[in-house]
């Protein structure tokens, strides 16, 4: 139990000294790597290290390191040797060679072409990033508050409580230029000030950990990896605003984030960082965790508060700012996970440091989840204003398998697709909006020549139809009508006037919807129509899908010249649509084919005998 700021400093010194001279093995154990057997790697390493019995060695499971394409990742400190794609059977060599004898295992190093990187900071994916928020994810065991303290955790809280007044804190957040990271981009300091100045003694702070955008997992990684950073930010915010109570709202699809956040809160309470008289000050704060139950719309602010109140998590008609009337009608500040995580950095390093990063309108760094058809999938943290090109190519390593870039989708279902012509756009709150998309919460999905943009737009409207709460007529019926139109288009029943109707439906939902889900639903449609209208026309007028995606317009076909009759495709086919004798060229029965693609996936790459054509009539032009 820490009863004073001096206690905190003393503990920080002590735990830092504990790790002097230690060899630390930091194994990525975020959800992504756990899905890739990192737990088994951990157990294998544990077993091997046990026989070594060296007290200098510390093996820890950390949160997400961010280089998800190459997980599980192991970093050995202090040298920072970085091993990628580690398997359980590698444990023996890692311990016997690297730990015991200092020999680096070449086979586990990151390589690309002729370049090999032995150290974490040499890997291009990491080298081109500037990590502040994610920096500690490679050092901190999320279940250990001591690890967080080693990184000067809670020093910012100490400064705020003992060297600053609540107004001082608000001024520093204002001067830093921090804007909300959930997608809205509202100036955080202004929001805090409004809540502070609102009438009433009962105020609340809330963490929005709903992160519903598919393909975005920045918040998950921060909550899983350094939950204390969010908690510290929340306590500082509560102090600044005058709130004594707070909530974490975390989606139930993130069990590890929920678990680690709950543990962090328990530990913080045990150390006197939550509860009455924090660190011996006169400030007290209580916090609890509220789980989501599977609804994207519940991430919308008014919906989220409704859910915490125990009502259904759907948006409400409310034109009064939450800073005046929020949870239970009391002044409330709701901020995104990443926003809260930035607060300790600003208070510890000063607002000028933060304002020195980024662009005039968008300060600080931002975490993006770079996924899709890119070589290096993972979490990327860069200063605001970094170009798309740098993110996709320098950090992302370009398009996988030498294919051609087509578009990058940003901002989730509220965003849009940006084509190659605009790759030099700087990523910040304003630039992407001008291009018809938005930065949103940070999801970035890279698409190549094999992605059909009509299918992408259809995917998003289907997602939004499923997630619409159904309360207001334009969103519920308008988006549903959009889905019907898209389904007709990809089935081959599209008409030219469908595009006019889609445009009108876009106006309907963006002008008349009750909440942001509906009003931004038009973006995926409008941005793909803006940059890829030719694909829509191709589907409607020529029954062709040039990206070979839409089932109604493609046919799978075995190239008789390449087929060696191995029979693998025949075995895979779920509807027995392939016939042929062993060693003889196989044939796909087009009438039975359900176009699932299993045959093409299983055909050995040395034969590469199965392909797709579009339109279907092209089959006639191929050799039988």
């Amino acid at each position: 139990m820490l009863k004073s700021p001096e206690d905190l400093i003393a503990l920080q010194e002590r735990v830092k000294a504990e790790n002097n001279g230690k060899i630390i093995l930091s194994l990525c154990s975020g959800t992504g790597c756990r899905a890739n057997a990192s737990q088994k790697v951990f157990e294998a390493l544990q077993a091997e290290l046990a026989s070594l019995a060296d007290p200098r060695i510390v093996l820890k499971q950390t949160g997400c390191h961010g280089f998800c394409e190459k997980g599980p990742i192991l970093i050995i400190y202090p040298e920072e040797i970085c091993y990628v794609s580690v398997k359980p059977f590698d444990a023996r060599d890692i311990v016997a060679q690297t730990i015991a004898q200092g020999r680096v295992l070449d086979r586990l190093l990151w390589k690309s072409g002729l370049i090999t990187a032995a150290h974490h900071s040499e890997i291009p994916f990491y080298k081109h990033q500037t990590r502040y928020l994610l920096a500690n994810n490679t050092h901190v065991d999320p279940t250990s508050i001591e690890d967080y303290l080693r990184c000067n955790g809670y020093s910012a809280l100490r400064r705020a409580l003992f060297s600053m007044t609540p107004q001082d804190v608000i001024q520093e957040i204002k001067r830093s230029g921090l804007r909300g990271r959930g997608g809205g981009g509202f100036p955080t300091g202004v929001k805090w000030e409004a809540t502070r100045e609102a009438e009433g003694n009962e105020k609340y702070v809330v963490v929005n950990g709903d992160e519903g955008d598919p393909g975005a997992y920045m918040d998950r990684s921060v909550l899983e990896g350094t939950p204390h950073s969010v908690l510290e930010g929340l306590i500082i915010g509560a102090y600044a605003i005058g709130a004594k109570s707070g909530y974490f709202y975390i989606r139930q699809e993130y069990p590890l984030a929920l678990e680690n956040t709950r543990k962090a809160i328990e530990e913080a309470r045990a150390f006197g960082l939550i509860g009455a008289n924090i660190l011996g000050s006169s400030f007290g704060f209580e916090v609890s965790v509220h789980q989501g139950a599977g609804a994207f719309v519940s991430g919308e602010s008014s919906a989220l508060l409704s859910a915490i109140e125990g009502r259904v998590g759907e948006p409400r008609l409310k034109y009064i700012r939450m800073s005046t009337s929020g949870l239970w009608g009391k002044p409330t500040t709701l901020n995104n996970v990443e926003t809260w995580a930035n607060v300790p950095l600003i208070i510890a390093n000063g607002p000028e440091w933060f304002a020195g990063i980024g662009t005039p309108g968008s300060k600080g760094s931002k975490i993006f989840s770079l996924v899709g058809k890119v070589e290096n999938t993972g979490l990327v943290e860069v200063p605001m204003g970094t170009t798309l090109r740098k993110i996709i190519y320098d950090i992302g390593g370009g398009i996988k398998n030498g294919k051609k870039f087509k578009a990058i989708q940003t901002g989730g279902p509220s965003g849009g697709c940006i084509p190659e012509a605009h790759l030099d756009a700087q990523v910040d709150f304003d630039t992407l909006t001008e291009l018809g998309s938005m930065m949103g919460s940070g999801g970035m999905i890279v698409m190549n020549e094999d992605s059909c943009m009509v299918d992408v737009a259809r995917y998003f409207v289907e997602f939004l139809r499923e997630e619409s709460c159904g309360k207001c007529i334009p969103c519920r019926e308008g988006i549903s009508e959009m889905v019907s139109i898209f389904n007709r288009i990809v089935r081959g029943e599209g008409k030219p006037e469908d595009l006019d109707f889609l445009e009108d439906l876009s106006v309907l939902v963006s002008e008349a919807s009750l909440c942001g889900l509906g009003s931004s639903a038009a973006n995926p449609v409008m941005s793909t129509l803006r940059y890829f209208r030719n694909e829509y026309e191709s589907h409607i007028l020529h029954k062709t899908c040039t990206s070979l995606v839409c089932k109604a317009f493609i046919a799978f076909h075995v190239d008789a010249a390449k087929c060696r009759g191995c029979g693998l495709c025949k075995k895979q086919c779920p509807v027995n649509a392939i016939y042929g004798e062993k060693t003889e060229a196989h044939v796909i029965n087009q009438k039975m084919c359900i176009k699932c693609g299993a045959c093409m996936e299983i055909c050995p790459s040395k034969f590469n005998a199965i392909g797709k054509v579009s339109p279907v009539s092209q089959l006639q032009n191929l050799a039988p």
């Binding site: 997992y217 990684s221 139950a293 609804a295 915490i308 996924v371 299993a598 299983i602």
Partner: protein
């Protein structure tokens, strides 16, 4: 209690458990969603009788409890299988072929998304993003993840679950 006002014996024990869950949240009405999540986790799905009991204890209108129970994907008023097969339909997985994976799994299990196999072994569900985008397309069975399983692996994978 059930529709005609009597209490079924097998449900007594379940209701005692539900009372314990409600008490752990201090009987607060605002904890409705949390309570339903815990009950769903223990029972695999929500019986109507449970909803009547929860509404009663929390002094919440039954219609409101039903609204919450039918609004969220996490809850099921229909029987759920012993194991839940979840296919991620997030954007990154979609771009890597998730619809195709869902098709193949659907073919194998003989049910569409949202349904449960006749032997009660598996319920097939979809979810929007599990956060393992580098492994896409992803299928999870209970808490184990599988990255783009091939049709030829299906027997081995599914037979491991009783």
């Amino acid at each position: 209690m059930n529709k005609n006002g009597t209490m079924a014996k097998t449900e007594d024990r379940a209701l005692v458990r539900i009372d314990a869950i409600i008490d752990s949240y201090g009987g607060k009405r605002s904890a409705l969603i949390q309570i339903l999540l815990d009950v769903q986790k223990e029972n695999r799905w929500l019986f109507e009788e449970y909803l009547y009991h929860i509404a009663d204890r929390l002094k919440a209108p039954l219609s409101q409890v039903y609204q919450v129970a039918t609004f969220y994907k996490a809850f099921s008023l229909k029987k759920r299988g012993r194991h839940v097969v979840t296919v991620c339909m997030g954007t990154a997985c979609h771009v890597r072929g998730a619809p195709s994976l869902l098709d193949r799994i659907s073919q194998k299990l003989g049910v569409n998304a949202g349904a449960t196999t006749g032997d009660d072994r598996f319920s097939l569900l979809t979810v929007n993003c599990m956060g393992c985008c580098a492994l896409g397309p992803v299928m999870a069975i209970d808490e184990t993840y599988y990255s783009n399983p091939a049709n030829t692996d299906f027997d081995k994978i599914f037979n491991a679950y009783a």
